[in-house]
């Protein structure tokens, strides 16, 4: 009888452990919010934004607040939310930099795209990778003020 109780207790422990190990999300290892992150430690949306965005040229006060990725066929698709929390309309330029599996550029440098964001507003920008070789990306922002 003792052996039966031990067995039941063990099974219960395994189920509890399995329940705890199951993530509430749907992430595969090396991905956060659908975006590839590799070895980087990404525990929140803020971490992901830091990893995936960069500033070049004149710095802008516009900030990415959200980056989400998915697949469109075999192409990486990205949605990024840009926030202007200032009291004036801002003009920026942005582009995506596409990176392949080896960490090399998967595509030539994109053209800078001008963007106007009204004061106290959000703007969602989206992009689709030009090739299935592009498995990672960086969103680059530059002020146009």
């Amino acid at each position: 009888m003792k052996a039966v109780w031990t067995m039941v207790a063990l099974l219960a422990a395994v189920f509890v452990a399995a329940g705890c190990a199951t993530k509430k999300g749907f992430e595969q290892p090396g991905f956060a919010f659908g975006c590839p992150v590799g070895e980087a430690k990404v525990g929140s949306m803020d971490d992901l934004v830091k990893v995936k965005t960069a500033s070049e040229g004149r710095r802008t006060t516009i900030q990415a607040t959200e980056v989400r990725c998915t697949k469109s066929g075999d192409l990486l698709k990205i949605d990024a939310n840009l926030n202007n929390d200032s009291s004036s309309t801002k003009r920026i330029a942005y582009k995506f930099r596409w990176i392949d599996r080896e960490g090399m550029r998967a595509w030539e440098e994109e053209t800078w795209k001008p963007l106007l964001i009204y004061n106290n507003s959000n703007m969602m920008i989206n992009a689709v990778a030009p090739t299935s070789k592009a498995v990672d990306f960086r969103l680059i922002l530059m002020s146009q003020e």
């Binding site: 469109s72 066929g73 192409l75 330029a93 440098e109 994109e110 053209t111 800078w112 795209k113 001008p114 992009a127 689709v128 030009p130 090739t131 146009q144």
Partner: protein
């Protein structure tokens, strides 16, 4: 007389100081020299259209559809080389590797001339291309660009709308279409 000489000397000095300088720039930088259709507009439109078209179901299906490029009509009041836009779209799609392109109407004369040339006595018969081997396109790409220009005193506003369509040649169905809008405002003073 003395003042004229002083003026001439000043003019010569000024001309000597004003020198021209040429520098290379970033071909992909944002160009805002005027509000006419410019390089940034061309690049932004071509990129947006090519990326969007790559997601069209007939292209996602993955059987390398064959497309021919037809005219993009310029319905604006300014001169725009629409061929440059379609060439950029075609280059981006071709590099993406999901679409093949058949020779288009403007390139047909050169294609036929080359076939005819290879069929002359100067070429080895076994290697010369034969007539009747060209493959026709399944889809044709066409579009138009329109603009609305408004000017009041020192403000000029230009709105461009570029529309591109992918038509199924066999059944005449519109398989994909997308638009890109651009607004530019110039203020003097």
């Amino acid at each position: 007389m003395k003042s004229i000489l002083v003026l001439i000397a000043a003019a010569v000095l000024a001309a000597g100081c004003a020198h021209e300088q040429t520098r290379y720039g970033d071909a992909r930088a944002i160009e805002t020299v005027s509000n006419q259709f410019g390089s940034t507009d061309l690049q932004v439109i071509a990129e947006a259209m090519a990326r969007s078209m790559q997601q069209a179901p007939v292209i996602v299906a993955g059987n390398l559809p064959i497309v021919t490029v037809q005219e993009v009509k310029n319905k604006t009041s300014e001169y725009i080389d629409t061929r440059a836009i379609t060439d950029s779209i075609r280059a981006e799609l071709q590099k993406g590797g999901k679409v093949r392109f058949a020779v288009d109407a403007p390139g047909m004369t050169q294609q036929v001339d080359e076939i005819k040339r290879q069929q002359t006595e100067y070429y080895a018969k076994e290697q010369a291309v034969e007539k009747g081997q060209m493959i026709g396109a399944q889809y044709r790409m066409e579009g138009n660009i329109t603009s609305i220009v408004k000017q009041v005193k020192d403000v000029k506003d230009v709105y461009y709308k570029f529309n591109l369509q992918l038509w199924n040649i066999r059944n005449g169905l519109l398989e994909w279409s997308d638009e890109k809008e651009i607004r530019k405002t110039t203020t003097k003073g």
